[in-house]
Symmetry: C2
């Protein structure tokens, strides 16, 4: 229905609108009047409906023309659904089975109808509840490696990749959110910021640290002016849905081109914040074991990333960068070059990780790991560990050689009291 003016869906209007789309109606089954419709969006930006019927269910996600978390005073372009759809298509191609299957996209309505994942639960809530997910680090590390490699000119034809950079450069408003909320606002007393009472001394120390701010801006330049690969752009534990044995990635509406280390770095920060929040969520007898499982996930994620990246380097290096005709075809190994690329990704990942460990505590968008701790006197010291480790990760990352060193650092900061 091109030209069909945008209208935010309601429980009532949804069956009417989607009843006429066979690839959606068929998945739900029965007549639209019999469908059960539930709005479940708990994110910051969108309406999300679960629609079920006699044959099964679908999820319908619709962009709202404003930031839901803030209200209509912060308008936001609906075109982000267009980019989310493009990102989902690329994710499905580059890592089959990693994202929900798309059944229908309606650009005028900024609406995507997709696979209903159940009994999957948002990974963040599983971590708060102390539940383990088999193969989690392997899945996410492999996914990050596939997206990083296959979306870059290590693999893609250059003309195709440049056309894609041009396409995603049209997504201006969404990266602007990250640019402000991740890289700028947390580091000064911006209007929309908030933080737990009791944290003031630590927050002041961070905001007075000029070397830290300079390093964060250096990473910001990298985020804003680098087009190595297509990023998810918001890959935290709230963008993963899991059962006990299987996981999927959701919500790539912040997709943009950027540095290969960004997604895995942001994800790692969210593992580490889950780690630091655990003392408020677990009884003593379960705490250590679950925290160690979380650090195991950090190790597995980077282990899988490295292994998959090396495999792709050996087998799918078809792009113009580090071409075989300069290395293998001359009888020269490219392994040292590959290791240098991996080391640079690791360093970038650490930088973005440290920043994410700040902004979820200092900025506008907090996360449930800490927010669900009701008593600020319990919350503040745990958040302080994340803030202080974040600073150390950003400033001292050249000395953090691998994931084992990073997890050792988390164990150390987990015992500290700040300020």
């Amino acid at each position: 229905m091109p030209g069909d003016a945008y209208e935010a869906l309601t429980d009532e209007s949804l069956p009417r609108r989607l009843g006429a789309v066979p690839q959606v109606a068929g998945r739900i089954g029965g007549t639209p009047e019999t469908w059960a419709v539930r709005e479940v969006g708990d994110g910051n930006l969108n309406l999300v409906f679960i629609v079920t019927g006699s044959a099964g269910g679908v999820v319908v996600k619709q962009a709202l023309p404003y930031v839901r978390l803030v209200g209509e005073s912060w308008p936001l372009a609906l075109y982000r659904a267009f980019f989310e759809h493009h990102a989902l298509v690329r994710q499905a191609a580059r890592d089959p089975g990693s994202v929900p299957e798309v059944f229908h996209f309606d650009e005028a309505q900024s609406l995507i109808a997709m696979e209903y994942l159940h009994p999957h639960v948002i990974l963040r809530y599983k971590m708060i509840a102390g539940e383990r997910v088999e193969g989690l680090g392997d899945f996410l590390g492999t996914h990050c490696a596939r997206m990083a490699f296959r979306g870059s000119e290590l693999h893609m034809a250059s003309a195709e990749k440049k056309a894609d950079v041009a396409l995603f450069a049209g997504n201006v408003e969404i990266p602007a959110i990250t640019e402000a909320l991740v890289f700028t606002d947390p580091y000064y007393a911006a209007e929309m910021n908030r933080h737990t009472e009791g944290l003031d001394p630590v927050v002041t120390a961070l905001r007075e640290d000029v070397a830290l701010k300079a390093e964060v801006q250096k990473l910001f330049v990298k985020f804003a002016t680098n087009t190595e690969t297509m990023l998810h752009g918001d890959l935290h534990t709230g963008s993963v849905m899991s059962t006990a044995t299987e996981s999927r990635i959701i919500d790539p509406e912040f997709a943009q081109y950027g540095p290969m280390g960004f997604d895995i770095g942001m994800l790692t920060a969210n593992y580490l914040m889950a780690y630091f929040s655990q003392p408020a969520h677990r009884a003593e007898d379960e705490l250590h074991g679950y925290q160690e499982w979380l650090l195991r996930v950090v190790m597995d994620t980077f282990g899988a990333f490295d292994a998959e990246f090396r495999r792709l380097w050996a087998n799918e290096r078809t792009g113009m960068l580090y071409p075989a005709r300069l290395f293998e075809d001359q009888g020269h190994s490219s392994e040292l070059a590959r290791d240098a690329v991996l080391a640079a990704i690791w360093q970038d990942a650490l930088g973005f990780c440290g920043i994410e460990m700040h902004r979820r505590i200092l900025g506008l968008a907090h996360n449930a790991d800490f927010e669900s701790i009701e008593d600020p006197r319990a919350r503040a010291p745990l958040e302080a560990r994340s803030l202080m480790m974040g600073r150390a990760v950003v400033l001292d990352r050249a000395g953090i050689g691998n994931a084992a060193a990073l997890t050792a650092m988390a164990r150390r900061f987990g015992k500290e009291t700040f300020p």
Copy 2:
């Protein structure tokens, strides 16, 4: 005349086509039949005409649908004139007076009519002839700083800059030339390469140097996946026209977004190749003085770049990167951050400089500094110095602290005999 099918101009057709364009005809004067038309293109890609009449002259540059240097077997998109025009407009805005004034752009004909620079001469030929240009380094260093800073998100509004990145991402074929001829082909025995006989041992040593190739690919990644600012993209001494006291930049058809250090690095390589070629062009009594003048230009270029970049940092930092609200507004100096940015630009510039010092001797597109040396036995040892210093610059650039160290290195290599 939209829809007017492309036709390569001739001396005869040019007056017919441009006689009807008042802003061109008026500058030339008289009736089109009386105009004097000379084709003077000595570049690799285009037709260039000087058209003079009773009132003055204009230069008419028209893209050809193939690489002139190679012939019709290498077709090349005419759309590059569109990007050259866009680049000229931005250069004129960001550094007024630095480029020829544009009088007329005809997209269908891939044709730009612009200011006739006279008595300006291509800088490369002046350097071969041993002529000095007053204020050269100041002009070029200031120009590079203005283009780098004012084309970046240190200065530009982010939405505007991202739209411009999308626009220039459409220029696929032209960057592909740089990607192949600068970063890839010189480092293996590619079909279109050629080099002076006698250089084989040095060439083999470079192509067998896996660490060098890996470092070049690292710089290639930076060139291909970085959008810090709009580059000229081909800023060598053949893209500068000078009198004894005044200079202009021409030929930005390789404009693309890329790292801030690229243009000044490529330019520096061309100064250094002029330096190394001088023993074949100068009598003993003039040699030392002229070579020292060339190294003075290197110093002046970076001195002016630094000074202008600092001035712009202080006065025009209106973009989202390193915002004053994180630094000066908090009573924090941003000078250390600025110096780190300048140091990173310097390191990138060195890397690109070293690569340019290779490709002009190993690749397809050589330069007149060396090519005009007829005797290969005189040419080879001078080229060998450029090749070997290029390698040292790429591999050891972290240890080259400033332009004085770089020029000292040139003096050392200028006395060596290779292999």
